[in-house]
Symmetry: C2
Subunit: 234 residues, 2 copies
DNA sequence: CTACGGCTGTGTTCCTCGTCACATTCCAGG
DNA sequence: CCTGGAATGTGACGAGGAACACAGCCGTAG
């Protein structure tokens, strides 16, 4: 959140051009896209959209961190993914016109770019390669979800937690092995691996006691990546 | 498997035209597609392709029943889906060029149509609407998988089984509520809901004892759909 | 500075379900 | 009509983790 104005087109275009999905649009396409959408800022803990809403925009997370939350009919929540700078969300409801399949909640302050559906469809007509990129992206999503299902079926809680920490460090970590996460509570970790909060706490303690990780406040440092990988079934 | 010759183009075209994905090709497109691919027959228990193989074809299940099997590095297997007449498989590896993400195993004799990648790409160039259909299909797949993940996280074994039976009856059932499945053992049911085989057996017995279902050999009849839906968290 | 609300750390209890072990039934092929 | 291998039905046992309950902690807002 480097002090950019909400609608600094240059800054928006800069982020967009770092995303494979938009790269196919070329320099000029990216610039006009940046102008065709709307950028907004959100404080931590806000809801960008709700599961069940009609889907009228594609979103790009220009900066910040958000949770993808799926809620069952009974109010149970599972966090499907954490998204960071450069990630997109809201594609699914757009592409097939169905309601939003999950909610998006900011885990810390976020800067978000929204591209209206109509403009996206135009872009897809002008740039046939864009559809291919979406196919690739959805394909990747399908693979991630099948992995997640397999993990839930075959890994115990400790294994899922170890794997999660490795993934978080890989995707959102700062220096090597440091997972800093303002806005990510142990309850969130629990919702990410389908477990109860106390159980996650105990699993973390167990990893600490074996010197696989160190926990200080809300920052987790991975001390023994090899052992964690083993614990996570890799 | 109504005695059609393996390469009966008319019969193939008939099945293809019942599939939304191909409907956008129009009558003539379907016919030429039917001729551009290869139909094969498989016995029960055969493997159509292996997870990890390169993906060189899109498949359409003209008739029969197949399992989509995902195998972990340790050899544990989860059945991601059962596919029947008119379902397609093998899209994913095709669309992004990555290896097959799961194996396909016939659960009973099957008649399968394979369309080579090159021909599919041609079709997508000629018919831009085809990409949209794939996007819709993948979107649907993503939704199914998130549901499955939520089920694994929040439903107990009995609930997952009840839900599974309802889905199987809905998709592959004969008359109302009858799930007949030659080739689907209780081990397969277990692999579909991420549970052990003995546990599935006991859960079935439990449903029988409460008169929610009847089991005779490998045929399951749903007696009390409402109660099953409730048990499955619907 | 103090108070309050959310997060974190732990104990206790109970129940689900995995694992192992076996008996029984079913079916296909000799 | 046997016979063997696979699928099914059950029992016993133990571990993992959910649910509940509560005690320290830590920061933010009065």
């Amino acid at each position: 959140m480097n002090g950019h104005l909400p609608h600094d087109v240059g800054a928006i275009a800069a982020v967009l051009s770092g995303i494979p999905l938009f790269r196919v649009l070329g320099e000029s396409g990216i610039r006009s896209t940046a102008q065709a959408g709307l950028a907004r800022r959100y404080r931590s803990g806000q809801i960008i959209f709700h599961q069940g809403d009609p889907g009228e925009s594609l979103y790009v997370l220009l900066d910040g961190l958000v949770k993808v939350v799926f809620t069952t009919e009974h109010g149970d929540e599972i966090v499907l993914n954490m998204l960071g700078r450069g990630d997109t969300f809201g594609e699914m409801a757009l592409l097939d016109g169905s309601p939003r399949s999950a909610s998006i909640v900011t885990a810390r302050a976020a800067w978000v770019f929204a591209l209206p559906r109509a403009r996206l469809l135009e872009l897809m007509r002008e740039h046939p390669g864009l559809a291919d990129e979406f196919l690739r992206m959805l394909g990747h999503m399908v693979r991630r979800l099948t992995d997640q299902a397999a993990d839930l079926a075959f890994l115990d809680l400790g294994g899922r937690l170890a794997k999660l920490l490795l993934q978080l460090a890989d995707k959102h970590g700062h220096a090597d092995g440091v997972v800093e996460m303002p806005g990510l509570t142990q309850s969130d970790l629990a919702a990410l691996i389908g477990a109860s909060r106390p159980a996650v706490n105990r699993a973390l303690q167990s990893l600490v006691s074996r010197n696989l990780i160190a926990v200080k406040g809300r920052t987790i440092t991975l001390l023994d990546v090899a052992a964690l990988r083993k614990r996570g079934g890799l």
